[in-house]
Amino acid sequence: MSYLPFVLAAWIFLVGIFGIVRSRHFIHLVVCLSLTQSSTYVLLLSIGYVKHGGAPIFKDVPLGTKAVDPVVQALTLTDIVVSVTVAALLLALAIQAKKHAKTMNPDELRPVRG
């Protein structure tokens, strides 16, 4: 039980990559990549968890109350923002692929010749 959240993060990561490897559609691929990245949120948040700790917000809670680690929570926030921006960029590239190569299947894209 005490390692379960970490194992969950590893599982989400591997499942996400599995989805990317066997993807037949760019939108599906972007969703799989977002899933892969969400494993890092699970990992960060579960590392920072302190048993019976509350949120690191000391409003109406006396200072010194047991609370979880605020640093990893801030890192997760950064992580989410980066994940969203990457997804947006990749979706824009998917639109371009649809327009120029007339396909949404990564396997059908030919290598770019210069």
Partner: protein, 248 residues
Amino acid sequence: MTRRVRLALFGVAACGLAALLLWSITGLPKFGDYHGAYGKILNKRAPQERQTSNVVAAVVFDYRGFDTMGEELILFAAVMGVAMLLREPREEEAPVPEDPVRSDALRAFGVSFAGATLVLGLWIVAHGYVTPGGGFQGGVVLAAAFLLVWLAGSYRAYRGLARAPFVELAEGSGAGGYVVIGLCALLIGDAFLHNLLPYGVAGKLSSGGSIPLLNWASGLEVTAAFVLLFNEFLSERAVLIDPTRRPS
């Protein structure tokens, strides 16, 4: 490489990676037993040192403010990238597509809901350093209010609200404002992004020194960035579903 070979290769590699991950997990502290020094010190000291009751906000906008500036600039650059990728091949502005919403009740409900969402977003941004929330979280809610206008109202109304020059200006000043606030600290002789205003009393909106300013700058940046993304993707949709241009 055929699909079969690729999947087989992945199977082998994934088994190896899974074994390595499981091995490394056994070296981690047990779930709930984390004893990171920084988090403990911050939880103990930040509420008094910065008069900020939300320690996560204090980390994001003060102790790790420089990191957040990088994050804002990543967002800025990515949105610029999307705009450049999608705008260049769009030769002409597509005609405004018809709106699928025909029910007046749905329209009225959706548009009034957009108002409520706007207020909620402002509230989340404003209280970000007091209670859970902040510029990033509230900014996304604010952008969702714009999206609601399109979903339940009309595309024309949405375009009227989210005019490109205005949104671009807001995005630029959000990202630039953050940097300028950092430079202000340099001007008065402190380190870059050093907290330069009086800290006030924790739990009040006036607390946290320059944390509220940075919080609002990132709120503006995130809202404008998302609205700009919606703009680009929705114009793309307008081109794709334009009935006058049949795919060749």
